[in-house]
C-alpha cells in the first residue's frame, strides 16, 4: 500500500466538501447527500 499524500484537517463540513468537490469533480449536492446518509 502506498499513501502518497498529506493529512489535512477541515474545520467544518463546507470546507471539507468544497475541497473534495474541487479535487474530484463530484458535485457538492451529491457529496452533501452522501455525508448526510453516512454520518450517524
Amino acid at each position: 500500500m502506498s499513501a502518497k499524500g498529506q493529512l489535512r484537517r477541515f474545520e467544518n463540513r463546507a470546507q471539507l466538501l468544497r475541497h473534495i468537490s474541487e479535487e474530484t469533480g463530484t458535485d457538492i449536492d451529491t457529496l452533501w447527500d452522501e455525508y448526510e446518509a453516512q454520518v450517524e
Binding site: 500500500m1 502506498s2 499513501a3 502518497k4 499524500g5 498529506q6 493529512l7 489535512r8 484537517r9 477541515f10 474545520e11 467544518n12 463540513r13 463546507a14 470546507q15 471539507l16 466538501l17 468544497r18 475541497h19 473534495i20 479535487e23 474530484t24 463530484t26 457538492i28 449536492d29 457529496l31 452533501w32 452522501e34 455525508y35 453516512q38 454520518v39 450517524e40
Partner: protein, 462 residues
C-alpha cells in the same frame, strides 16, 4: 459580612469564541475516499503538491481498514507511544508517510513494525492513524479540561452574582474552579514548553519525560526564559499555583478561601485566574483565531473572508436554499463579495462590501442577511483555524506572522498575543525564511528584520 451590591465579573476567555472541540467519537465516512470525522472537524488525505497522478494512490487506504484500526488501537500502549512521538504537523511539500518514517525514532518505527505483524494493519496505515490522533490532540483543542473549566467558571460566577455572602457553597464551587484552572494551566504549560523548547527533539520519549518531570514551576520559568511568557504573567501564574496549593493542603484555609472575605475579592481572583488560563491558551496556539481576525493583515483577511463566504454559501445552498435565493435575488446584494469590518464585534452592523444599504428597508430580508453574515463570521474563524493548522509555522507563530505583516508595532502584537515584545522581535528574524509558499501566498509580503533593537536603557538612566 453580607454584600448585596450587583457584582460584575468579566472574563478574559470568551466562552463563545474559544474554539472548543472536546475529544469526540471518531467516525469514518467514504466520500470519494476515506474521511475521518471528529466532532465538527474532519481529516482527509490530500495529494501532495500539484501532482494529480498521485490521487489514485491516496485513495488506497480503505475505509473499512481505517475504521477497524481506530477502534482496535485505542487502548494499545505501543500505539500510544507512536502517537506521542508523532509531530503535530508536517511540511506541506512532503508526503506524510515519507516524512514520518524519517522523523520518528527507530524505536517507534520498530514498534510500528511489530504492531503491524500482530494486527491486520499495515505499517503505513498505523502511522497515518497515529498522526490523526496526534493532530487531533493539538489542533482539535481536545481539552476536555477546558470544557469543564468553562462550566465551573460559569457556576462560580453565577453563585457570586446571586448570593450576598461567601458561604460554604461558594467556597466549594471556588475550590473546584481553582483546581480545574490549575489543571488547565499546567496542561497547557507542558504543551507549550514542549512546543517551544524542544521543538524538534520533542519526538523523543526521553525528552518528553524530562519536561514532565521538571515540575510546573520549572516549566513556567523556562517559558519566561525564552520570553514567550512575560515576567508579569509569570508572576501571576506562580500566584495561582500558590493559591491552589494553599487551599489543597490546608483545610482551614480552604474553609475560609484563604482569607478572601468579600464577593468582590473572590471575583477579582476569579478574573485574575481566568486571565492566566487565557494567556496559556493563547501562547500554546489554541486560541489565536480571534486576534488574527481582528488584527490580521489585509491580504490575509481578504482571503479568509472570501473563503468563509464561499463556505457559508455552500452550507446555505444545502440547508437554507429558500433564504439564500432571496438574498441572491436582492438587487442590493452581491453575496460572494460580502465583507465586514473585523475590528468590530458585531459583523452584521459593519458590512463594508457586497451590500448596498441605500434605499433598502426590507426588514425580513435584513434579518436573513444578518443571519448569513453571522454564519460567515463563524466560518471566518474556522478558516483561520484551518490555515493556522496547515501552516508550516506552528499555530502561535502563524499568528505572530499575520500580525507582523499588518505592520503593527512589536509592543501591540505582544500585548494582543499575551507574549513578550522580545519574542515577537525574535520571531521576525526567522519567520521570513521558515514560512513556506503556503504562508507567503496568504500574506503577500513578510517583513524583514530591520534596525537594531537594543533593550531600552531608560531604567538604568534613571
Amino acid at each position: 459580612m453580607g454584600d448585596s451590591t450587583d457584582l460584575d465579573v468579566s472574563f478574559a476567555i470568551d466562552a463563545e469564541t474559544v474554539s472548543l472541540s472536546p475529544i469526540g467519537e471518531y467516525q469514518v465516512l467514504d466520500l470519494e475516499g476515506p474521511v475521518v470525522i471528529v466532532g465538527d472537524a474532519s481529516y482527509r488525505v490530500v495529494p501532495v503538491g500539484e501532482e494529480s497522478d498521485l490521487s489514485e494512490d491516496v485513495r488506497e487506504l480503505s475505509v473499512d481498514e481505517i475504521r477497524a484500526a481506530l477502534s482496535e488501537l485505542a487502548d494499545n500502549d505501543d500505539f500510544q507511544s507512536i502517537v506521542d512521538n508523532c509531530p503535530t504537523n508536517t511540511p506541506l511539500v512532503y508526503d506524510d508517510i515519507d516524512y514520518l518514517t524519517r522523523h520518528l525514532p527507530t524505536a517507534s518505527l520498530q514498534k510500528c513494525g511489530e504492531l503491524s505483524e500482530s494486527t491486520p494493519f499495515e505499517k503505513e496505515l498505523l502511522l497515518q492513524v497515529a498522526y490523526v490522533e496526534r493532530q487531533n490532540s493539538l489542533v482539535g483543542h481536545s481539552d476536555n479540561v477546558l470544557e469543564y473549566y468553562l462550566e465551573q467558571r460559569a457556576e462560580i460566577a453565577e453563585k457570586l452574582r446571586s448570593t450576598d455572602e461567601i458561604d460554604s457553597d461558594v467556597e466549594r464551587s471556588f475550590f473546584s474552579y481553582l483546581l480545574l484552572a490549575s489543571a488547565l494551566i499546567e496542561e497547557l504549560t507542558t504543551e507549550t514548553v514542549l512546543n517551544e523548547l524542544f521543538r524538534e527533539e520533542g519526538r523523543l520519549d526521553s525528552i518528553t519525560e524530562h519536561v514532565r518531570s521538571m515540575g510546573h514551576a520549572k516549566r513556567l520559568e523556562k517559558l519566561c526564559d525564552i520570553q514567550i511568557l512575560t515576567e508579569g504573567d509569570h508572576g501571576s501564574l506562580v500566584e495561582v499555583k500558590k493559591r491552589r496549593n494553599n487551599l489543597v493542603h490546608d483545610a482551614q484555609k480552604r474553609a475560609g478561601l484563604d482569607e478572601l472575605e468579600s464577593r468582590r475579592e473572590v471575583a477579582q481572583i476569579l478574573e485574575k485566574t481566568d486571565r492566566c488560563a487565557s494567556v496559556l491558551l493563547t501562547i500554546s496556539g489554541k486560541n489565536i483565531e480571534s486576534v488574527i481576525a481582528k488584527r490580521g493583515c489585509d491580504p490575509y483577511i481578504e482571503h479568509a473572508q472570501s473563503e468563509a463566504v464561499a463556505d457559508t454559501i455552500t452550507t446555505w445552498e444545502q440547508e437554507y436554499p429558500e433564504r439564500l435565493s432571496r438574498l441572491h435575488d436582492c438587487e442590493q446584494a452581491a453575496l460572494e463579495k460580502i465583507r465586514w469590518d473585523t475590528e468590530e464585534s458585531d459583523p452584521g452592523n459593519n458590512i463594508t462590501e457586497g451590500f448596498t444599504f441605500e434605499g433598502f428597508d426590507n426588514e425580513v430580508l435584513y434579518e436573513i442577511l444578518m443571519e448569513f453574515v453571522g454564519d460567515a463570521s463563524k466560518a471566518f474563524l474556522d478558516r483561520i483555524d484551518a490555515d493556522a493548522n496547515e501552516s508550516n509555522l506552528d499555530r502561535f507563530d502563524f499568528a505572530v506572522m499575520v500580525l507582523l505583516c499588518a505592520g503593527h508595532s512589536y509592543g501591540d502584537i505582544a500585548r494582543w498575543l499575551d507574549t513578550d515584545e522580545k519574542y515577537v522581535q525574535r520571531k521576525e528574524n526567522v519567520i521570513a525564511w521558515r514560512a513556506s509558499k503556503f504562508e507567503k501566498g496568504l500574506v503577500e509580503e513578510i517583513p524583514r528584520p530591520e534596525d537594531q533593537t537594543w533593550p531600552s536603557n531608560t531604567e538604568s538612566d534613571d
